[in-house]
C-alpha cells in the first residue's frame, strides 16, 4: 500500500516545472497533511460521486485505502517535485548542452541524459520522502484505513498492554525503515556508478 503511494509520488513529481505545478506545490506544502487528507477524502469523494451522478452512473463508495494512497501520492508528489527540480539543476549544464549539440530531441534527452544524470542528486531527498511517507500512513487512520498505529491503539486499548503493543509497532516501523535503507543504499550506489566516492577508497 505504501509502495503504491511512493510510486505515485514519484510519478506526480515529474520535472516539468510549470505555473500549474507551482500552484500545486505551494498549496499542498502549505496545508497540513491531516487537513489535506480530510479535505481530499471527503470533498474528493463527494466531487467524484457528483460527477458520476451527473454522468448518469450510480454513486460509488470510495475505499479509504485507495483515497489514502491517492492523498499521500498528491502530497509526496508536491515535495518530490521540488526534490527533482533541485536535482535537475544540479546536473552539470554541459552534459545537457552536449546532448543538444548532437541533435537529441527533448524527450530522448530527458530519458537518456537528464533523468539518469539527476538521479544521484535526487536519491537522498527522495529517500527522505519515502521514509516520511511510511510514517505518514498513520494519519490515514482518520479516514478509516486499518494502518499500523491505529490498529496498535485498538489492540493496546483492548488488552491494556500498551507498552508491548506500541513497542511492537515501533519495531515494525524500524524494520520497515532499515529494509528501506538497504534498498535505497543499493539504488544510490547504482545511480552514482559514474562518480568516484568522495571518501576515497572505501
Amino acid at each position: 500500500m505504501i509502495g503504491v503511494g511512493g510510486a505515485y509520488g514519484k510519478l506526480y513529481g515529474g520535472p516539468v516545472v510549470r505555473d500549474l505545478l507551482e500552484v500545486y506545490t505551494t498549496v499542498v506544502r502549505a496545508v497540513p497533511e491531516l487537513v489535506l487528507i480530510l479535505l481530499l477524502y471527503f470533498a474528493g469523494t463527494d466531487l467524484i460521486n457528483q460527477l458520476l451522478t451527473a454522468l448518469g452512473h450510480a454513486a460509488i463508495d470510495i475505499n479509504g485505502v485507495v483515497a489514502g494512497i491517492g492523498v499521500l501520492g498528491v502530497v509526496q508528489g508536491a515535495y518530490s517535485t521540488e526534490v527533482l527540480r533541485g536535482a535537475i539543476l544540479g546536473i552539470p549544464q554541459g552534459q545537457i548542452e552536449a546532448a543538444r549539440a548532437y541533435g537529441m530531441p527533448p524527450g530522448l534527452l530527458l530519458r537518456r541524459i537528464t533523468l539518469p544524470a539527476m538521479l544521484p542528486f535526487a536519491i537522498p531527498g527522495l529517500a527522505n520522502l519515502w521514509l516520511i511517507a511510511t510514517k505518514d500512513t498513520a494519519l490515514l487512520a482518520i479516514v478509516g484505513v486499518n494502518e499500523l498505529t491505529q490498529t496498535t491503539r485498538t489492540a493496546a486499548g483492548a488488552t491494556k498492554a500498551y507498552f508491548t503493543f506500541f513497542m511492537a509497532a515501533g519495531a515494525l516501523y524500524l524494520v520497515l525503515t532499515l529494509v528501506s535503507n538497504v534498498v535505497i543504499g543499493r539504488i544510490e550506489r547504482w545511480a552514482r556508478r559514474g562518480m568516484p566516492s568522495i571518501a576515497g577508497a572505501h
Binding site: 552539470p92 552536449a98 549539440a101 559514474g194
Partner: protein
C-alpha cells in the same frame, strides 16, 4: 566587413571547387545590451580547417556556438551543408529556430567538442560514444559498438572502454569526447577551445589527435588559443576582434605577415 568575409571564400571556390560545408553570413549576436557578434561571415569548404583566434570576449566561441544553434543568432544567415537554418521570432522577440527537427538534423551532422569535455557522467566511454549513433541516428547497437571500439582505439583509449569519465584525466576525457564526435560521422567537426581546460602536459596528446584528423582531410572549425598548433593545421585563419573579423587569410600570412595592428599586438601578447 560582410564583403571582406565572403571575398576570400569565393577565391577558395576558384581554387579547389570543393562544396561549402559551412557558410555564415553577416551574423549578429546580442545578449541583451551586449553586442557580441557584429556581422561576421565565415565559410568552410570540404577539407578545410578553419582556425578562429582572438582575445577573450572577441566572440569566437559564440560564433562557433551559433553554427549549431547552441546560441541562437540574432540575425544573419547560417548554412550547413547548403541548408539554411530557418529562424523565427518567438513571443519574447528572441530569434529562435523555426523548426526543431531541422536543427536536430543539422546538429547530428556536426561533431562538437567542448572546452569542458561534457561527457555524460553516468555512462562509460563506450556508452558515451554509441549514445548518439544508437539513439539519435538509429544505428544498430552491435554496429555502433564495433565502430566505437575502433574510434576509442584510434584516440588511444581502447582499454578504457568500460571506465566512467570521472575516473580519467582531462586529456583522456577530451580524447574520448573527440571519439564521441567522430562516431556520428560528422560532415564538420567543431572544436570549442578543446585544450583550454587541460593541464599543460595533457595538451599535447589532444592536439595530436586533432592534428591527425586535420591531416586526413576532415573539415573542421577550431576555436583555439594554441597559435603554434593553429599555424600547423589550419588552412585558413580568422582573427576576431570585438565581434568583427579583423583579419583573415592563410596561416602563413596571419602569423607570418600580419597587417592589422591589433593582430600584431595580439600575437605579441600570446606568443
Amino acid at each position: 566587413m560582410i564583403t571582406q568575409g565572403t571575398a576570400p571564400a569565393l577565391k577558395h571556390t576558384a581554387q579547389n571547387g570543393a562544396a561549402e560545408a559551412i557558410h555564415v553570413e553577416n551574423l549578429h549576436k546580442r545578449f541583451g545590451e551586449l553586442h557580441v557578434l557584429k556581422g561576421v561571415s565565415l565559410s568552410a569548404r570540404d577539407g578545410e580547417v578553419i582556425a578562429i583566434i582572438g582575445g577573450s570576449g572577441s566572440g569566437k566561441s559564440t560564433l562557433l556556438r551559433c553554427i549549431n544553434c547552441l546560441e541562437n543568432p540574432t540575425s544573419g544567415i547560417v548554412r550547413v551543408n547548403g541548408e539554411e537554418i530557418r529562424m523565427k521570432a518567438d513571443s519574447h522577440g528572441h530569434t529562435v529556430p523555426a523548426d526543431r527537427r531541422q536543427i536536430e538534423r543539422i546538429r547530428s551532422k556536426l561533431g562538437m567538442v567542448f572546452q569542458n569535455f561534457n561527457l555524460w557522467s553516468h555512462m562509460t566511454l563506450i556508452e558515451n560514444v554509441i549514445e548518439v549513433p544508437v539513439h539519435v541516428l538509429g544505428v544498430k547497437r552491435e554496429t555502433a559498438i564495433a565502430g566505437a571500439e575502433k574510434l576509442l582505439a584510434r584516440v588511444g583509449l581502447a582499454e578504457k572502454r568500460d571506465v566512467y569519465p570521472a575516473y580519467l584525466s582531462g586529456g583522456q576525457q577530451q580524447r574520448a569526447a573527440i571519439a564521441r564526435a567522430l562516431a556520428i560521422n560528422p560532415r564538420v567537426m567543431l572544436f570549442d577551445e578543446p585544450t583550454s581546460a587541460l593541464d599543460p602536459e595533457l595538451i599535447g596528446e589532444v592536439l595530436k589527435v586533432i592534428g591527425d584528423l586535420a591531416r586526413e582531410g576532415r573539415t573542421m572549425v577550431l576555436v583555439t588559443h594554441e597559435m603554434k598548433f593553429a599555424r600547423e593545421v589550419a588552412t585558413h585563419v580568422v582573427y576576431l576582434y570585438n565581434g568583427l573579423v579583423e583579419e583573415e587569410g592563410p596561416p602563413e600570412q596571419i602569423f607570418g605577415a600580419p597587417r592589422s595592428e591589433r593582430l600584431k599586438q595580439f600575437l605579441r601578447n600570446v606568443g
